[in-house]
Symmetry: C2
Subunit: 193 residues, 2 copies
Amino acid sequence: MKKEPNQRRDEIIEKAASLFQEQGYRAVSMRKLALHLDIKASSLYNHINSKQEILSEIVMELARDFTIHIQSVSRSLNKNAGEKMREIIEMHVRVTIRKTDFLACLNNDWMHLGEKDREEYIEMRQSYESDFRAILEEGIQQNQFVKMDKEIAVFSMLSSLRTFYLWLKRNPEQDEQHLIDEMNRNLLDGILK
Amino acid sequence: MKKEPNQRRDEIIEKAASLFQEQGYRAVSMRKLALHLDIKASSLYNHINSKQEILSEIVMELARDFTIHIQSVSRSLNKNAGEKMREIIEMHVRVTIRKTDFLACLNNDWMHLGEKDREEYIEMRQSYESDFRAILEEGIQQNQFVKMDKEIAVFSMLSSLRTFYLWLKRNPEQDEQHLIDEMNRNLLDGILK
DNA sequence: GTCTATAACCTGATAGAC
DNA sequence: GTCTATCAGGTTATAGAC
């Protein structure tokens, strides 16, 4: 809750995200995490209360950022559906670049959150998908988008965006604007001439 | 290797795929798996040699099917790039419908394969992506596809296809041809008018 | 083919010395 | 803030009775 700066704690969470992303939450023990930080597992508990708390720190803040951002975009009145869609795609790419490992954990390990966090996460994800769908609907009604099965389109576009971190892991140091442009074209224009 | 029919063994592997898909390979213990099959964990070892062998059975055959299929499509001489792409997309959707849980395991749990299988898996995945990329290249040269960053396009399209099982889990019993048509449109034509 | 019992080890987490 | 020692329970897998 509070935002006391806590360097060691952040270090632990960063390293955990990196390992979770690589091996999965269940495959990374506290001993393994501690080894990568050159301390003993028991020392971790001076900075965090539980393994699940680390996961929560990684996933929940990022999920809240996504939820808030798409809400503000989808409700803005001075943009048409196409512009909204481009802004969402751009946001996804930017977050992917800045929080690569955190996003990977959000995608792959959310089901290992504690019950309360997990419920909140699922709610936020539903809310996000619902806002995304609303923009598609708006675009179809404005005759800016083609007629389509919105459910499948939401899923298909979000799949590309959500797993973009995988590609970025294998192709680091790309020009940010190039990535944004290409993802916009892939998802909005398609590849056919 | 041999294809003796072995009903109980297949039952175990099916149930394991279902649980792995839901909770992740590491989160499903042999006791948990046994509980869902109404036997004791030790009895499982009369049918399989190890937990990892179950994962291998789930992932490797499916990976080989994908690899072989895209090879035969990409090398066929009587189809243009657009037709090849449509056939690959169709194949992905059909496999997703028929092997939903197996595909989920392939996507999420391949890193828990034994070293030998894991290496073979990675090779097959690279080969698959390389065939996919070649079809895009062919389409660009034939002036059938727009100019694009092929690496990003391969990733983006495959992301949608690979995680289609997630959507299918939440929306079962859809018309197969409708799914194929919509995925073709999403990935090839985009959503913009 | 399933069971009980058990081996050998790993798991998250805590107590208390320094 | 890190350490050693430890707890209580879970992990894969095997041995051997039935």
